[in-house]
């Protein structure tokens, strides 16, 4: 065993403070392993979220050494830069519940506000829709469909930081995947929903969401697609 990790973890709510722990370094150790070891071996009152541990559920995201990351797929060695210091904070732009757990309600409410749900239309279909994997729409949807709702992009977004009502990269990315779903019957209402004062046009294209997305999705490009669709809607007199 080499030098112990100096782990600083945020404790409490917005008015909390960092608490330090010395955790043994281990081969292939992930950041989530470290948090779990702190809770099991040092302080059982530490609050944090995780579920799948394999990068599918999107529940373990935190700010690690200043950057938002999924902790189950982030190895300690990749983020300490040869040192032994690990600083863990709850995601930014969310209300802190306690320690590393944040309130996700507003984040997912914005998915609904952006019409980030499938609208099947009034009538039941008699057969499966045929969607070519090579079609432009299907490929655009594919590019953003693997979002796991971890909140990393929302935490990284400067616009969310200064405008709490901005829908945010994840909700807008979801709306864009549905804009490209040829089976959906709610496109006009969805375009309206994402084109308000706090919608896609508020994006400044800083690309932090795209930089930090652990699934390598590019919400910036999805938002650009929504902006284009909105302009086309205006030019066609639909809006």
């Amino acid at each position: 065993m080499t030098e112990a990790l100096n782990v600083e973890i945020w404790r409490g709510d917005e008015k909390g403070q960092f608490q330090s722990f010395a955790i043994p370094t281990r081969p292939h150790q992930t950041v989530l392993d470290v948090v779990t070891e702190v809770q099991r071996e040092h302080d059982a009152t530490l609050s944090y979220r995780f579920a799948c541990r394999v990068g599918m559920c999107g529940s373990c995201a935190m700010v690690v050494n200043g950057r938002p990351r999924w902790t189950c797929r982030t190895r300690v060695n990749a983020v300490i830069g040869g040192g032994n210091h690990l600083r863990l904070e709850p995601l930014r732009n969310f209300t802190i519940v306690k320690d590393l757990a944040v309130e996700m309600t507003q984040f997912f409410d914005k998915w609904k506000e952006a019409h980030g749900y499938f609208e099947p239309g009034p009538h039941e279909k008699s057969d499966f829709a045929v969607v070519s994997p090579q079609s432009r729409e299907r490929q655009a949807a594919d590019a953003g469909i693997e979002c796991i709702g971890c909140g990393v992009c929302y935490s990284a977004c400067d616009v969310v930081g200064w405008n709490k009502d901005y829908l945010g990269p994840a909700a807008l990315n979801r709306a864009w995947t549905l804009m490209n779903d040829v089976r959906d019957f709610d496109q006009a209402a969805r375009l309206d929903a994402v084109s308000g004062g706090d919608g896609c046009q508020a994006c400044h294209t800083h690309m932090s969401c795209t930089t930090f997305c652990p699934k390598a999705i590019a919400p910036t490009y999805s938002i650009a697609g929504l902006k284009r669709a909105a302009v086309v809607g205006v030019l066609r007199g639909a809006r």
Partner: protein, 109 residues
């Protein structure tokens, strides 16, 4: 920013990208030989083509600038709502009137 403002700002930006380059090139070219203001006005008076060009330029500025200023003020100050929109509508009108007045003075016959 709603979709109409966004579209108007982007379309006028497209116009201004060309108009500003033509404008700067023209003024640099025009004064390089030491032309006076009187010499320039003698050449511009009655030029319908340039009058149309600068008319479009002024209209694009009058649309583009207030929308951009509105975005900045909405993001960086607490000023929102009708008073902001009304004030910027007046700014747009002011830019339009002053700009078209200048176009008339320089290119009118």
């Amino acid at each position: 920013m709603n979709a109409r403002f966004f579209a108007a700002q982007r379309i006028t930006a497209f116009v201004l990208a060309f108009a500003v380059v033509i404008h700067l090139t023209t003024i640099i070219y025009a004064v390089r030989g030491g032309l006076t203001a009187a010499d320039i006005l003698a050449r511009t008076h009655g030029n319908t083509g340039l009058a149309l060009f600068y008319g479009v330029f002024v209209i694009a500025v009058a649309i583009h600038a207030p929308i951009g200023l509105r975005n900045v003020l909405r993001e960086w100050s607490a000023w929102h709502g009708r008073t902001l929109d009304t004030s910027l509508a007046f700014l747009a009108l002011l830019l339009l009137v002053l700009g078209l007045r200048a176009v008339t003075a320089v290119f009118g016959s």
